[in-house]
């Protein structure tokens, strides 16, 4: 039974893709203050697990609970408390860096003028009026991640957040994750890099590549 401070818990999840069982009867729990790294080789089902936790995919069996209620019963409340950034950045090339960020901030109820200051946090000052189609993959990801600096939502689910981000950027993100966890948030992420975060703070869920 999950303890009372569990934000999110997964109950006996089974995921099947292309007739292959990715994971079976997986139960895990995410509490306030947790930084959880989902580890495993390519094709082990890391992204599938994150998508199920975010409510984007349905598991073959099992259920995800948010505040001890099944996810499908309180989707709107869950989405108010969730930030998910997938491995696609969700950045429109036709809009400028600032417009892209301002849109996502506005959808969270934050004022659009916060965008300019937030771009400074991800080292994109000077690019705010550049169309995103003129920026690099790493800069796209920075725009997508920039909203985390303004984010008041407790649950962060991040799929490969460090892809295409430079060393200094990774360091800044790691500091942000620790800060967020200290304030009672919860970060769930996948990455192939070793986290330079104090090992006591990080929990790891290891997914294995299951041979049929």
């Amino acid at each position: 039974m999950p303890s009372s401070n569990a934000l999110l818990h997964a109950d006996k999840l089974t995921c099947i893709r292309e007739d292959r069982i990715l994971f079976e009867a997986l139960s895990c729990q995410f509490n306030q203050g947790d930084i959880v790294q989902i580890a495993g080789p390519n094709g082990a089902g890391k992204t599938s697990l994150l998508r199920i936790l975010a409510g984007l995919s349905q598991p073959f069996e099992g259920e995800v609970h948010f505040q001890n209620q099944p996810l499908h019963k309180n989707v709107e409340l869950y989405n108010q408390n969730l930030t998910y950034i997938g491995h696609l950045a969700g950045i429109k090339g036709e809009m400028t860096a600032q417009e892209n960020l301002a849109f996502y901030l506005a959808m969270q109820g934050l004022p659009p003028h916060a965008a300019e200051q937030t771009l400074e946090n991800v080292n994109l000052l000077g690019f705010e009026d550049a169309l995103a189609s003129h920026l690099s993959a790493g800069q796209h990801r920075r725009i997508a991640l920039a909203r985390l600096w303004q984010c008041q939502k407790p649950i962060w689910i991040l799929d490969e957040p460090f892809t295409a981000i430079d060393k200094q950027g990774v360091k800044n993100l790691e500091n942000l994750f620790v800060e967020h966890a200290k304030q009672g948030g919860c970060v769930i992420l996948t990455t192939h890099q070793d986290l330079a975060i104090d090992a006591q703070l990080v929990k790891t869920i290891e997914l294995e590549y299951q041979l049929v």
């Binding site: 984007l56 696609l88 849109f103 969270q108």
Partner: protein, 230 residues
């Protein structure tokens, strides 16, 4: 739990509408492709059939409506494909507001970009086809309430096929049969108007189609998107 000041349904709708219109205005292909297709198809008919006024005015309603229908079909792909490909669609599905509000905003933006320009250009092209002068009112009314129906029904088809790599053929097969009632009643209304008879019956049916698709399509699209992105 933390209470967050989330935007109201109306604010979310306006944000989405503004975003889609901004993107379309910067990506001018979205506007000009269907419009140019519409103009080219309609102008080719007098060239192919010959300039005889009586033949042209007989087939004018059908040509204009079929061209409008195909122009809409051509533009449908843009509705969700680009957002699906760059990950924006995932983000939209996780917005705290119900998905149908976002979907409604996107469909209305699509109509403003592709349907509305057709309505402005249609009377000019009708002159080229010697459309009966009594029929102009009917042409405008049927286009005004008929083209949104095309966008709403088309959105369901796109939402169902968005996850498929080459869904173009499938999309036509799903959507075109559903467009036929609009085509039949719209051309019938224009023909009836040419004979100086009341055409309110046909318009009422298109109106019913409009309100049905306006109220129900966003829910169908939301459900289809959830399946497609699963």
């Amino acid at each position: 739990m933390m209470s967050i000041n989330i935007p109201s349904y109306r604010q979310a709708f306006m944000l989405m509408l503004k975003r889609d219109l901004t993107i379309a205005l910067r990506h001018k292909d979205d506007i000009f492709n269907p419009l140019l297709f519409f103009i080219i198809v309609v102008t080719l008919f007098p060239l192919g059939i010959g300039p005889e006024a009586s033949t042209l005015s007989r087939i004018a309603p059908g040509i204009i409506w079929v061209a409008a229908l195909l122009a809409t079909l051509l533009s449908l792909d843009r509705l969700f494909k680009a957002d699906f490909a760059d990950g924006s669609l995932e983000q939209m599905m996780l917005i705290p507001q119900p998905l149908f509000i976002i979907v409604l905003a996107k469909i209305i933006a699509h109509w403003l970009i592709t349907g509305l320009p057709l309505i402005f250009i249609a009377p000019v092209l009708a002159v080229l086809l010697h459309l009966n002068e009594n029929s102009y009112g009917a042409l405008m009314i049927t286009l005004l309430i008929g083209t949104p129906v095309l966008s709403f029904i088309g959105a369901i088809g796109v939402a169902l096929t968005v996850g498929i790599k080459k869904g173009g053929v499938l999309l036509s097969l799903i959507v075109l049969p559903l467009y036929i009632p609009v085509l039949i009643f719209a051309t019938s209304a224009i023909d009836t108007a040419a004979m100086n008879l009341p055409y309110s019956g046909q318009v009422a049916i298109i109106g019913a189609l409009f309100f049905t698709s306006f109220t129900l399509a966003p829910f169908a699209v939301s459900a289809a998107l959830k399946v497609s992105t699963n």
